[in-house]
């Protein structure tokens, strides 16, 4: 098997998690035209939730996935209720600083509570497992995270397309005023959008803990990757988030393999920059 193909497959696996992360951000953006700067920190909280569950309750981060999802859900909804709802009445500058402040609060709050040390899951069903498929050797934890992410992505997509609440969310995203006239409780939709954002980020974090270290500042790396993914796919576009997540994952893996692992973030930011310049509304963006 060629190295390029192997690296690409690794990239696709990681890309599926990026897609799930981008989904939460793009739903919030679609529903209320707002970027959640704290998205990476929701992920970080999810990672700690799964890590602590694995360290103290049951020695497997996979058990932490629903826990992290629940914590993320509550965190997202609370953020909306306590902070974002007020920010919406202010100017754009207040919205940017508001969620940016939330990001700093969670990030440095975690630093104060958990300390600066990197931590890894103590073990688990899939941690460190090798999966051999013909000539291809894959990390079982990465395959699990990718499969879990794909499943959750499909679940949320189904929810958005096939349920009444999903219809309300899509209506609000399409035209807030019109949706309100039709009887959609747009404020509740905002809340649900943030809850989905928090829950998906939290569960993505829990899946990542199977093979990725946890630290208070880990959110920033993933936040920037997620912003890039959402920009690439088009702000507000759910299929775009899926396609772009996989592209970003592959670009990252290929850069790390052929140039330098230290440069992979710089290359992803470069992609973001080029996309924003050449296709400001992303690959599958509506506007």
């Amino acid at each position: 098997m060629s190295v390029f193909l192997e690296v690409s497959i690794q990239g696709v696996l990681m890309g599926l998690t990026y897609a799930l992360l981008a989904l939460g951000l793009t739903v919030i953006f679609g529903v209320m035209d707002m970027v959640n700067f704290a998205h990476g920190e929701f992920l970080m909280i999810g990672m700690y939730a799964a890590y602590l569950t694995a360290a103290h309750v049951f020695p497997d981060p996979l058990v932490g996935v629903p826990v992290a999802g629940l914590i993320g859900l509550v965190l997202g909804a609370l953020s909306y209720r306590l902070l974002v709802r007020r920010l919406l009445q202010g100017p754009t500058i207040a919205q940017i600083f508001g969620t940016f402040g939330l990001m700093l609060f969670l990030r440095y709050g975690a630093l104060a509570v958990f300390g600066p040390n990197l931590r890894s899951a103590p073990g688990g069903l899939v941690v460190g497992q090798r999966l051999v498929l013909g000539g291809l050797v894959l990390d079982g934890a990465k395959v699990t995270a990718a499969a879990g992410s794909a499943l959750l992505f499909a679940l949320i997509y189904w929810f958005l397309q096939r349920t009444r609440v999903g219809l309300g969310l899509r209506a609000t995203a399409a035209h807030r005023e019109a949706a309100r006239y039709m009887g959609v409780d747009t404020d509740a939709m905002n809340s649900i959008g943030w809850a989905i954002g928090g829950a998906t980020a939290g569960m993505a974090g829990a899946l990542l803990v199977n093979f990725y270290y946890v630290s208070p500042t880990v959110g920033m790396v993933f936040a920037m990757i997620t912003f890039t993914t959402v920009a690439l796919g088009g702000f507000g576009s759910v299929p775009g988030a899926f396609v772009a997540g996989i592209i970003v994952g592959v670009v990252e893996a290929v850069t790390a393999q052929y140039f330098s692992p230290q440069l992979k973030l710089a290359v992803i930011y470069l992609v973001f920059f080029l996309v924003v310049l050449l296709r400001p509304h992303g690959l599958l963006g509506a506007r």
Partner: protein
């Protein structure tokens, strides 16, 4: 517009209320006599840091406050200014005054080129774009060998105070910082009364309307973005000689970008005095908090800033200045067209 008019606009505070002018005069006198009144090294260091961050906040106000473009990557300009001085000094023993124009030119050039792309973005996108660009520069300066990577640059020390290399005692640094601050303040004072300043306020209120009125939106934003970069880079150059050691984590870190934007936001974005008020609140809070908490309470300082940011954003987006204005409604209503238009 003649040069005399520019200088007059930069130095004139005639449009401000009497109370404000009195406040300015008292503040400048207090800053001028500060090193004689305060002998403690800690107090003097806080004053220099205050002036430095106030200058950085003023630099942010050009694009962020008056232009409404939320720049979250201000640290890259500080980094360019600091490395512009530090690297030539390390390699060729070049004086500060040779390095200063190099650093400022690098920052302006970079802002000109990247601004062409970044300033097409609006609102949240611009904020994320600037954040990403600043992170890339930090990564590159950490990765590159010619910048000394993560090890940073230790500036060669001179045995005696030396104006060429800007190395002198705390009193000298205080006046150097004060000079830079006053220069930036005058520049911003000119800016807010200039055509460019009005164009940016128009863009902040409604970009499409501004464009339909014939304002070259991109050109106006680009000018303000470059001025902002120049001021921040000059402050960065000063940072390098003041601390004597720089590395990507200190002069290019996201936390620094946050602090820069925050001084303006908390004081009052788009107000001449906003960044000064913001720095006067934040810097003493930061230093005394740091001294009080010591090294073991990691992150608590930023948790407190984060709470302040969230409260300001949610309840008083106009910052401390907005609170001051609401306490003196008659005056603010009368003078609003200058400051707040």
């Amino acid at each position: 517009m003649g040069i005399g008019r520019i200088i007059r606009d930069a130095l004139s505070f005639g449009d401000l209320s009497r109370a404000e002018r009195l406040g300015i005069a008292l503040f400048l006198v207090a800053m001028a006599v500060f090193p004689f009144a305060v002998k403690s090294g800690f107090g003097r260091a806080v004053a220099v840091q205050f002036l430095l961050y106030a200058t950085l906040g003023l630099s942010w106000n050009f694009i962020g406050g008056y232009g409404g473009q939320i720049d979250l990557g201000g640290a890259k300009n500080v980094g360019f200014g600091a490395y512009g001085v530090a690297l030539p000094m390390l390699w060729w023993n070049a004086p500060f005054w040779v390095g200063l124009p190099i650093g400022v030119a690098a920052a302006v050039l970079e802002s000109l080129v990247l601004g062409l792309a970044l300033l097409r973005l609006r609102g949240h996108y611009f904020a994320i774009g600037t954040l990403a660009v600043a992170l890339v520069w930090q990564e590159l300066f950490t990765f590159w060998r010619w910048t000394n990577g993560a090890r940073g640059v230790l500036l060669p020390l001179k045995p005696t105070p030396d104006f060429l290399y800007m190395q002198f005692g705390p009193v000298g640094f205080h006046y150097a910082a004060l000079f830079l601050f006053v220069l930036s303040l005058c520049w911003l004072n000119w800016f807010r009364k200039s055509k460019l300043g009005y164009e940016l306020r128009a863009i902040r209120e409604d970009e499409d309307a501004a464009a339909s009125l014939g304002i070259d939106v991109l050109a106006a934003k680009l000018k303000a973005y470059c001025i902002s970069a120049a001021v921040a880079a000059a402050a960065g150059a000063f940072y390098a000689v003041y601390y004597g050691y720089i590395d990507p984590a200190s002069v290019m870190h996201m936390d620094l970008s946050v602090m820069i934007a925050m001084t303006a936001m908390i004081g009052g974005a788009g107000v001449l005095w906003g960044p000064v008020v913001g720095a006067a609140v934040l810097i003493p809070l930061d230093r005394y908090l740091g001294a009080w908490l010591g090294g073991d309470a990691l992150g608590i300082d930023f948790v407190i800033y984060a709470l302040i940011i969230m409260l300001v954003a949610a309840y008083q987006p106009k910052g401390v200045w907005g609170i001051i204005e609401s306490l003196a409604p008659a005056r603010s209503a009368q003078r609003n067209e200058w400051r707040d238009a």
